[in-house]
């Protein structure tokens, strides 16, 4: 069953397209990573999914309903980001109690255990928390709500490395105990890729690819060695990224598709070295504006 379906969805802010002609589906009980550069349209996409923003055109269904202004959808999803606003009159303790009243599946025990583990002060106000502590508190709400659709927009911003690691582990353990559809956006692909089943990569508001993490790990291959041999090879393969290594050598990232795979296998005989391409490097290369990266600015 598909929990989320986007069909040809576009969103314009003024004259600029934040999201354009985006179509994808999220299957039930998967963890999907939403990856994209700054300004790629991640937050807009997630806000439309949550029902906060109405698309300019196209069709969105969440639990088979239009999510915009829909009570049933909003009761079954939670949207966590760093801008969440809570009442300034309530303490953190009161906020947790209140949150428990909103969500049918609320796991109060988990909420308080996490609250104690991360040493949050029950009498403090949300507005007084540091950026990292705010994210931590929001994350606790996001996990404990056990919503069938859980949306995290950059949940780890401001968290230190240790808290991020704890959060990923908490997310996985809670997901194993209570499988549900989770989508989280992040820049830190390498930190979350093991956790994910699928990756949805968007670029300039458009879907670039939507594949399982395992498929992405074999999506491209890095080739290094003699520059002219690589350039020749690049004519048969889709070139994703290239970098001049000096003294007639270069490094290139190429797509490993179908029949081309076998041709790439032959490259070892040509003295070219093949290396796997890490998922975060791949995401960076394919969304790069120029094939040369930042180096091209200085040339």
């Amino acid at each position: 069953m598909n929990v989320v379906e986007f069909t040809n969805v576009s969103k314009k802010y003024g004259k600029s397209n934040a999201v354009s002609k985006l179509s994808f589906t999220l299957a039930e009980n998967k963890i999907t990573g939403l990856i994209g550069r700054n300004g790629a349209g991640k937050t807009t996409l997630l806000k439309m999914m949550a029902g906060y923003v109405k698309p300019s055109s196209g069709n969105i269904t969440v639990f088979s309903k239009d999510p915009f202004d829909n009570l049933q959808v909003s009761a079954n999803r939670i949207f966590i980001d760093h801008q969440m606003s809570f009442s300034p009159l309530l303490t953190l303790k009161e906020l947790l109690i209140t949150a428990g009243r909103f969500y049918a599946n609320w796991d109060s025990e988990l909420a308080w255990r996490l609250f104690d583990y991360f040493s949050l002060n029950p009498d403090q106000n949300h507005a007084q928390l540091s950026k990292g502590m705010k994210s931590t508190f929001n994350m606790i709400i996001g996990l404990a709500a056990h919503c069938p659709l859980t949306i995290f927009d950059e949940p780890t911003s401001g968290m230190d490395a240790a808290v991020r690691k704890d959060f990923y582990r908490a997310l996985l353990k809670d997901y194993l105990n209570h499988p549900r559809t989770i989508i989280l956006s992040s820049h830190l692909v390498s930190e979350i890729e093991d956790l994910l089943e699928d990756i949805l990569l968007i670029n300039d508001g458009e879907k670039y690819l939507h594949l399982s993490v395992e498929e992405l790990r074999e999506y491209a291959v890095g080739v290094s060695g003699n520059a002219s041999a690589i350039k020749e090879l690049a004519q048969q393969h889709s070139l994703i990224h290239q970098k001049d290594m000096g003294s007639g050598r270069m490094y290139a990232v190429m797509k490993t598709e179908g029949a081309a795979k076998q041709a790439l296998d032959q490259t070892r005989k040509l003295g070219l070295e093949l290396t796997p391409v890490a998922v975060d490097d791949l995401c960076m290369h394919v969304t790069s504006k120029s094939q040369g990266g930042i180096d091209s600015v200085f040339n």
Binding site: K30, I31, Y168, R169, L172, K173, L176, D194, L195, L196, E197, S212, V213, E214, R217, E218, V221, T256, K261, L264, D265, L274, T275, P276, A278
Partner: protein
């Protein structure tokens, strides 16, 4: 696989290899239940779908068999299958790498064999 397995083996293959080693070391015996995808996900901090892919890889090779509703179990000749596979695939490719390196360094066959012989007796001695 098209990539050099030494540099970055996919996680599901690492999971499968770890399970194989568990079976070879007789930590899990024939007809015993193997870890579930959820147990593996928790142990290795990975998505359960990745763990399932590792388990299915072994099921496809008849190292494991499925019992409907009960999970996966170690098959009778699992050890035999794993040993054969490692000999034919892993050892072969490692020998290939060693030989290539030897050729690049100008090490002759005889010299290489002497080295291997020495390592072999050392490794055997270490196991006793």
């Amino acid at each position: 696989m098209i990539v050099n397995p030494n540099s970055m083996t996919p996680i599901y293959i690492q999971i499968a290899e770890w399970l194989e080693t568990q079976i070879l070391n007789e930590a899990i015996h024939s007809d015993e239940k193997i870890y579930s995808q959820y147990q593996l996900a928790e142990m290795y901090n990975i998505n359960p779908a990745t763990a399932a892919k590792g388990l299915n890889l072994l099921a496809d090779q008849n190292v494991l068999y499925k019992k409907r509703g009960l999970g996966m179990f170690v098959s009778k000749d699992a050890r035999h299958i794993i040993l054969n596979k490692r000999k034919n695939e892993k050892l072969q490719s490692m020998v290939k790498d060693v030989t290539k390196e030897a050729v690049q360094l100008g090490v002759g066959v005889e010299e290489l064999i002497v080295m291997i012989r020495k390592m072999h007796s050392e490794a055997k001695g270490g196991n006793q």
